[in-house]
């Protein structure tokens, strides 16, 4: 045990000596959190700007853009009318999330039930917000199509009257009203009671989507992921120095050396976890239901990732190959595991894959701890699994080190 502590002490001194790397690891959650604040103007919710070029100036066009200014969507989407050239320039400059071009004759085509094409140009540097615009537009247009089919006859009459360029006569209005009524009664057998019950959740009543809360746990996992990657390269540094070879010839086995190295790594990971959680609380106002549990879980996850990446390092035949291999593993893990993009923004299949990655699996549990909804039994099993994996990987590394040193 004394040599484990001696190894840990030696490695901690070396980690402390490389303090710029330590600062960088601690800075990752702060830096990315800060960037998010800058990107979204310091608000918790995202904002999309929709530029509209309305060449039709019809009621249909106004209703369409009005859809973006209704209810909770109005808090996210800001609609601004622009000329075509200005709109194209601004979308190219990344000044908006989307540019909607309503062509001339769009309203007429909608009334006549004829095909019409809308053009939505999205900002390629954004993923989530243009998606919101596109989805909203799709839903609105599908709604318009349904209304057009249900109220086919009265809409045709209105269109015919408009063709005569005058307001319809009272008798025509009465006829149209009767037709709407008849169409409504006809649709009633499906609508009342509705064949499909639609449960509506008011966005205003639901918990507000907290961007920082969705991103920050992923940033913490990302910080320990990067740190574990960096710490795992030390086996190559020790091999290059010749100290690993020398250490393996000491009476204590390679397993003791591995335990000491991971104890030192775990201590550094604990420091980064503590700083990350504290920064979330004090800089970004992110409350954690159980900070101690979150800290312990994050540290354990970090040690697990350190063990995993040490094995990956030992699979490579050279230090350079190891660097490529570790990057090839780290980046997909970070992308899929919910660290770069929250699971909420991913398609279902990707969430299924991402939550099965080690960091994704750990992230889901960290979020549950932070939100205070973690089940103690499940968490205990998860921690036992993580400890078991670390021990198993430690055994593999110790066996491999003897010949590899």
């Amino acid at each position: 045990m004394r040599f484990v502590l001696a190894t840990a002490r030696k490695d901690l001194l070396r980690i402390r000596g490389d303090w710029p790397a330590l600062l960088l690891w601690m800075g990752i959650p702060l830096m990315v959190g800060g960037l998010l604040v800058l990107m979204f103007g310091g608000d918790a919710a995202p904002h999309a700007k929709l530029l509209v070029v309305d060449r039709d100036q019809s009621l249909a066009g106004r209703l369409l853009t009005g859809a973006f200014q209704q209810g909770p969507l109005a808090e996210i989407v800001e609609v601004e009318s622009v000329e075509l050239d200005e709109g194209r320039d601004r979308i190219e400059d990344g000044d908006a999330s989307g540019l909607l071009i309503i062509p001339e004759g769009f309203g007429r085509a909608l009334l006549d039930g004829e095909p019409a094409t809308l053009e939505l140009v999205t900002n390629p540097s954004e993923v989530v917000l243009p998606g919101i615009l596109e989805e909203t537009l799709d839903i609105t247009l599908e709604g318009a199509e349904v209304l057009r089919r249900i109220f086919d006859e009265p809409i045709d009459r209105i269109a015919a009257d408009l063709d005569r360029e005058g307001f319809p006569a009272d008798s025509a209005v009465a006829t149209v009203a009767t037709a709407f009524n008849r169409a409504g009664e006809g649709a009633g057998e499906w609508l009342l009671p509705p064949a499909v019950e639609l449960e509506t959740v008011s966005l205003a009543e639901a918990e507000e989507f907290d961007f920082g809360r969705a991103f920050f746990p992923g940033m913490l996992i990302l910080a320990v992921l990067f740190m574990a990657t960096g710490l795992s390269t030390d086996v190559w540094a020790e091999r290059r120095l010749g100290t690993l070879r020398r250490a393996v010839t000491a009476p204590r086995g390679a397993g003791v050396i591995v335990a000491g190295k991971w104890l030192a790594g775990g201590s550094a990971l604990a420091l980064v976890s503590a700083v990350g959680l504290a920064a979330g609380r004090w800089l970004f106002g992110i409350e954690v239901a159980d900070p101690l549990l979150a800290f312990l879980w994050l540290t354990l996850v970090g040690v697990g990732l350190l063990a995993l990446f040490t094995v990956v390092q030992l699979l490579a035949r050279s230090e350079r190959a190891a660097s490529v291999l570790v990057n090839a593993v780290t980046l997909p893990l970070a992308m899929l595991g919910g660290s770069f993009f929250p699971f909420e923004t991913m398609p279902g299949w990707m969430v299924a894959v991402g939550s099965s990655t080690p960091n994704g699996w750990a992230l889901l549990r960290l979020r549950a701890i932070m939100d205070g909804v973690a089940e103690p039994g499940l968490l205990a099993v998860s921690a036992a699994v993580a400890v078991g994996i670390v021990v198993a990987l430690g055994w593999i590394v110790a066996r491999r080190l003897r010949g590899w040193a």
Binding site: A6, R14, G242, R246, T249, A250
Partner: protein, 309 residues
């Protein structure tokens, strides 16, 4: 004491060490002399427990390295060929770590760190990071890390490679001091002068096999009083070999290309006779070298090549 019996180490098709046996005694320096790639480091690797032997047995202070590795290793100190230090740590921290690796603690630990720093001449640099040291200072500290726990057996794998002459003298003095203190020292080198000046017993390795062993006197005796004569020029090596071999007491060690090597007693007195015999074959000799009996000449006589080739 180190006892090596029938040691063999294979790497796939390559046999790095083949049937090596020797015994190194306490208070003596045993030298393993051989060119690069002869199997010296592999032998040290097997003794230190770093490499599992393919066959054979190694015992250190009576403990079998394969069966009782912990007990065997606890008696050993190792000074590897390459400097193996934490360059980002101070010298004293390096010594502390390697001392703790062998179980030292408390007052004895502090006392040994100070004592070794003094021994290797780095007492005033103990708190400085190793990366600020010169090559010679690193070599001395590297040696210090091998002796900090006062081992009974010390394995030194070419510790003077790349060391300046002043540091080399100091290191060799340190090695002698260890032997004088009763430590069993195994010293590998390809510098014959070092081996001659340092070692009590020697084994000469080539291609993984011991080709000669004994004390320095015994090895010199096996050469007799014969000098080595190397002739370079334009000639048919086989013709010169036959002509040289016809002279009394002359042994042709190697012949090939534009060079012939012969062993003969009193070469300086019989050089004119030799050259006349060779010239009679139509050979044109451009250069003649005479070497007095030494480990170098023994190695050449045994292998037909120089130690540094």
């Amino acid at each position: 004491m180190i006892e090596v019996e029938g040691l063999r180490k294979e790497y796939d098709e390559l046999v790095a060490v083949d049937d090596v046996s020797f015994t190194a005694q306490p208070g003596k320096i045993f030298g393993l002399l051989g060119p690069n790639g002869a199997g010296k480091s592999t032998t040290i690797g097997c003794i230190s427990g770093l490499l599992p032997p393919t066959a054979g047995r190694v015992r250190v202070q009576g403990h079998d390295v394969a069966r009782e590795p912990r007990a065997a290793k606890s008696h050993m100190g190792i000074v590897p060929q390459e400097v193996a230090l934490y360059e980002d740590l101070p010298a004293a921290e390096n010594l502390r770590f390697w001392a703790e690796a062998y179980g030292l603690r408390g007052d004895r630990l502090s006392e040994r760190i100070r004592s070794v720093l003094e021994t290797v001449g780095l007492l005033d640099r103990g708190d400085d990071r190793v990366e600020t040291f010169s090559g010679g200072m690193k070599r001395r500290l590297n040696f210090g890390c091998g002796i900090v726990h006062e081992p009974e057996v010390l394995l030194l794998d070419e510790p003077t490679v790349g060391v300046d002459p002043q540091s080399r003298v100091r290191l060799l003095d340190l090695v002698r001091a260890q032997a004088a203190a009763g430590v069993c020292v195994l010293y590998t080198t390809h510098y014959m002068e070092e081996a001659e000046s340092l070692c009590d017993r020697l084994a000469i390795l080539d291609h993984g096999r011991i080709i000669a062993s004994g004390t320095l006197e015994e090895l010199r005796g096996s050469m007799g009083e014969r000098d080595l004569v190397r002739l370079s020029g334009t000639f048919d090596p086989e013709t010169v070999r036959r002509a040289g071999g016809s002279l009394e007491g002359v042994e042709v060690v190697a012949a090939g290309g534009d060079q012939v090597t012969l062993a003969m007693p009193g070469a300086s007195r019989r050089l004119s006779e030799l050259l006349a015999t060779v010239a009679a074959t139509g050979a044109e000799v451009r250069e003649t070298t005479v070497t007095r009996p030494s480990l170098e000449s023994l190695f050449i006589r045994l292998t037909g090549k120089e130690l540094r080739e």
